[in-house]
């Protein structure tokens, strides 16, 4: 009888053969081939804070890497025809700094501390800035300055400023001057080109664009509770006219792209967290009392009125509500809970009042997104440029980012992970209550990719959102 034994190589072969055989037990499936369908070889992203990758109150090298245009470009590269994408990347450790989570207050509000950014070229202090002295920091110039980057997102860029010459010229970096340091570092030194001119130059080689701009026009006003700057319905007209100037350049010669509508500002945690009656109920439950919340009356100075559900306390002010503060009552000074006593109402700077502030803001956004009037809205422009329908459910030619923001507000589950509008634990909005975390950016990028796939019959794979970090630091 022949002995049955393995030589060493025979055994290795046996193991390999067994492994091969067993691996064959995984049933096969066809994987879709990523295809672009349109020319994505040179993608140009135009916009403001969101496009630039601003996150947690700052712009850093990491937060830029997770900007939604950069995430999209990475997915484009997986599909045939996706080219390289240049960003005006900051050097590691430089930038504005960012907010870091400290802890949660007893009422569940996150507390953050600012980590300062390093290696600033120069700083200019504006002692008379609205809301207290402000420092403008000049950053190291981007390596892409000679040729303009493909991500033209500029944090803090107002639509009304796109034709201001010298907005990116250091000579205008004076207290009160019209100057944007993020734009300055994108341009060569002492360049007085306007943002529109920069977009025109950059667009000449672009094959595809995204446009997501306008929120930064309103953010200073919103963040100051309506105390910095003024907004009126005519602002919407200015925004629309200027949007058209940029989009005329971007969509010229039938260039393909996605125009993104602005979300409802009430979906931003900056406001959402502070919806009047919700805060009132939360604090009543916390203090076990029935105290109402009062805000300063915008119409009769020196008087207060009870908060309504359509007044929104800024999330940044929430930790202070209910804290005892000294108030002059008659001839004496009393310690009264801030906001929870008619004699110590919430200051105008901490709240957006419905009639005088919020309704105007939402009106502007509605008009800008899709209203009907003289100048064309984003929706009207998209139709004018014969862009395809990107949202069949709403028959929209523009991408409704508000839908994503609203859905997140009601919580969405992506692959078993729940995302919500709650800062920190919700993993969508960053600690500044306004911009997105890397994962939030990925969800925005995926929304955009879905729209491109639908509109242009492309097969661009989506980002596995849960793989990204929860903060950009």
């Amino acid at each position: 009888m022949k002995h049955f034994s393995f030589t060493l190589s025979g055994r290795a072969g046996f193991v390999a053969a067994t492994a091969l055989l067993l691996n064959a037990c995984a049933p096969g499936q066809d994987t879709p081939t990523p295809t672009a369908a349109i020319d994505l070889s040179h993608y140009l992203a135009v916009g403001d804070s969101y496009t630039a990758g601003f996150s947690a109150g700052g712009l850093t090298r990491t937060s830029q890497q997770y900007s939604f245009p950069n995430l999209m470009a990475q997915q484009f590269a997986l599909a045939s025809g996706g080219g390289s994408f240049t960003q005006p990347t900051l050097e590691a450790g430089t930038g504005t700094g960012y907010l870091n989570l400290l802890d949660f207050t007893a009422t569940g509000q996150p507390r953050a501390r600012r980590v300062a950014g390093a290696a600033v070229r120069r700083s200019v202090i504006d002692p008379a800035a609205c809301g207290g002295p402000d420092t403008v920091r000049l950053f190291t110039r981007s390596a892409t300055a000679s040729a303009l980057p493909q991500n033209l997102g500029v944090p803090g860029l107002k639509l009304s400023q796109i034709e201001v010459a010298g907005l990116g010229n250091e000579t205008n970096a004076t207290p009160g001057g019209a100057f944007n340091p993020y734009f300055e570092r994108l341009l060569p030194a002492a360049d007085s080109r306007t943002y529109l001119q920069a977009v025109t130059t950059a667009a000449s080689s672009a094959t595809f664009f995204t446009y997501f701009q306008g929120l930064d026009e309103l953010m200073p006003y919103i963040r100051s509770g309506g105390t910095c700057g003024t907004v009126s319905t005519s602002l919407a007209e200015t925004m629309k006219l200027n949007a058209r100037k940029i989009l005329d350049v971007l969509a010229a010669n039938g260039r393909k792209g996605i125009i993104m509508r602005l979300p409802d500002i009430k979906t931003l945690p900056l406001l959402r967290q502070g919806q009047g009656k919700n805060v009132e109920a939360r604090l009543q439950a916390f203090y076990h009392d029935n105290a109402l919340i009062y805000i300063e009356s915008p119409f009769v100075p020196g008087t207060s009125q009870p908060i309504t559900d359509e007044d929104y306390i800024l999330a940044t002010a929430l930790p202070r509500i209910g804290q005892l503060t000294p108030v002059q009552v008659g001839s004496s000074i009393l310690m009264l809970p801030y906001g929870r006593d008619a004699r110590n109402p919430i200051r105008n700077a901490d709240v957006l009042e419905k009639a005088s502030e919020l309704n105007i803001l939402t009106g502007i956004i509605t008009t800008y997104n899709g209203g009907t009037s003289r100048a064309l809205s984003l929706e009207g422009l998209a139709k004018l440029y014969k862009l395809p329908i990107v949202d069949p459910a709403q028959s929209l030619y523009t991408l409704d980012t508000g839908l994503l923001f609203t859905n997140v507000g009601n919580s969405v589950a992506i692959g078993g992970v729940v995302y919500s509008a709650e800062p920190v634990r919700g993993n969508f909005f960053s600690l500044d209550y306004y911009t997105l975390t890397p994962r939030g950016n990925a969800l925005l990028a995926n929304t955009c990719i879905t729209a491109i796939n639908r509109a242009y019959q492309a097969n661009i794979p989506a980002v596995d959102v849960n793989k990204l970090p929860t903060t950009a630091q």
Partner: protein, 414 residues
């Protein structure tokens, strides 16, 4: 042959039914080779776990023992709906086994014992796969001990009843994808037991044709000793997810109604048919009742299953090549209890067709060696996910399932 076949059909008409689920397949090498069509099959005592009514047929002078092992590889591939990423489940072998023994008290009454592993699965996904926050690994093992009494009513009919004591273990592991730490995860593990009853009838009309009918009750495993452990949670959320908590849960096995016939086409060739209906609708959801720990209140984690009853159809054939060698073959179709809306990677199942082959070789006049292999291939399943329904934790994509089962055993009669 055709007539009795037809009379069975009305039994199932109007039932919205389908029988795979986490049923781990026929419990015995020979019945596995037969495709599981063993409700009226008396050539192996393994039929006892399907139909206790067969037991009376072995009320003769012989004591029979059958013992063997089963290995099952259940593997699924997944392609993400939006990410286009393909993931294959890790290769794991779900072990099983069986022990049967019968002994006659007299010519009318026989006693039997069946120890089987009829339900179970082991799902293991790569720990970084797209659905890691839904499930990374899940395992269910069950052990059924079934003492059985069989009575030969007359020459042609016998009936039997068995009591099932079941013991089972369940464990589950998934990532906590809301945190940056890739090792943040929760693990559940629990074990418990339950009881059930099986009853059946076997009859012969003439020498060639026989039939069987059996009913096996639902078995619910009551798991009261569960432990939930959580790791990798940042300190800020420590109060939301304590490191260790207790939980209880219930895991249900379905009731099954089987009807089968067996027909000797020739002296050497046997054909068997089975229909069975499994009451999977007993599995509604997997509820983990987590007890309060420290400042964390008690809570219930519920994952919806909503299984529906499932039907299966099996055909088997046995051919005696020579006095020593018998070969077996089978075909089966199993409907899945898992609805489209509740496809879940924790336990992926699909309507599947399967083929099987086996043999029995008489080593001596008393001892037979048995072996069988079965391959099941599942229909492509597409899981759609509504992101807005954050209570249903799932991942969207397509799944394809294949099941390989092999079994080897020995049969003794003395």
């Amino acid at each position: 042959m055709r007539q009795p076949f037809l009379f069975l059909i009305p039994v199932f008409c109007g039932l919205t039914a389908s029988a795979s689920g986490y049923d781990s397949g026929p419990q015995g090498a020979r019945v596995l080779g037969l495709g599981g069509a063993s409700t009226a099959y008396i050539n192996s005592i393994a039929g006892m776990s399907t139909n206790p009514g067969l037991l009376g047929q072995w009320a003769d002078s012989l004591t029979r023992v059958s013992i063997g092992g089963i290995g099952q590889i259940r593997r699924t591939s997944f392609v993400g709906q939006d990410t286009y990423q393909r993931t294959d489940q890790d290769l794991v072998v779900q072990p099983g086994g069986y022990l049967y023994a019968t002994h006659a008290l007299n010519k009318r009454v026989a006693l039997g014992l069946a120890i089987t592993t009829p339900y179970g699965y082991h799902t293991k996904w790569p720990s970084t796969w797209e659905g890691r926050s839904v499930i990374q690994e899940s395992q269910l093992n069950t052990y059924f001990v079934q003492p059985t009494v069989g009575i030969r009513l007359n020459d042609n009919f016998s009936a039997g009843v068995g009591v099932v004591y079941a013991f089972g273990k369940y464990s589950q592991r998934r990532a906590l994808g809301q945190y940056d730490d890739p090792n943040a995860q929760t693990q559940f593990s629990a074990s418990g037991s339950g009881f059930g009853v099986n009853a059946g009838l076997y009859g012969r009309s003439g020498d060639n044709l026989s039939f069987g009918i059996s009913y096996r009750s639902t078995v619910q495993l009551k798991m009261n000793n569960g432990t939930l452990t959580t790791t990798g949670v940042p300190t800020r959320d420590a109060s939301l997810a304590p490191a260790s908590s207790d939980f209880t849960t219930r895991v249900s096995m379905p009731s099954t109604l089987s009807v089968g016939i067996a027909d000797h086409i020739t002296k050497k060739l046997l054909l068997t048919f089975d229909f069975s209906l499994s009451g999977w609708s007993a599995v509604d959801s997997l509820k983990l009742n987590v007890a309060a720990t420290g400042s964390t209140p008690a809570r219930t984690q519920s994952s919806v299953r909503r299984y529906e009853d499932a039907l299966s159809f099996r055909v088997g054939t046995e051919y005696q090549v020579n006095p020593k060698l018998t070969v077996l073959g089978g075909f089966h179709y199993d409907e899945t209890p898992v609805r489209d809306e509740y496809i879940n990677p924790e336990f992926l199942d699909a309507n599947r067709v399967g083929v099987s082959a086996g043999l029995s070789y008489q080593l001596t006049s008393r001892l037979a060696l048995e072996g069988a292999y079965s391959f099941d291939y599942g229909q492509l399943r597409t899981a759609r996910v509504s992101q807005n329904d954050e209570k249903v934790s799932n991942v969207a994509g397509t799944y394809r399932l294949a099941v390989n089962t092999a079994s080897v055993g020995l049969s003794v009669a003395f």
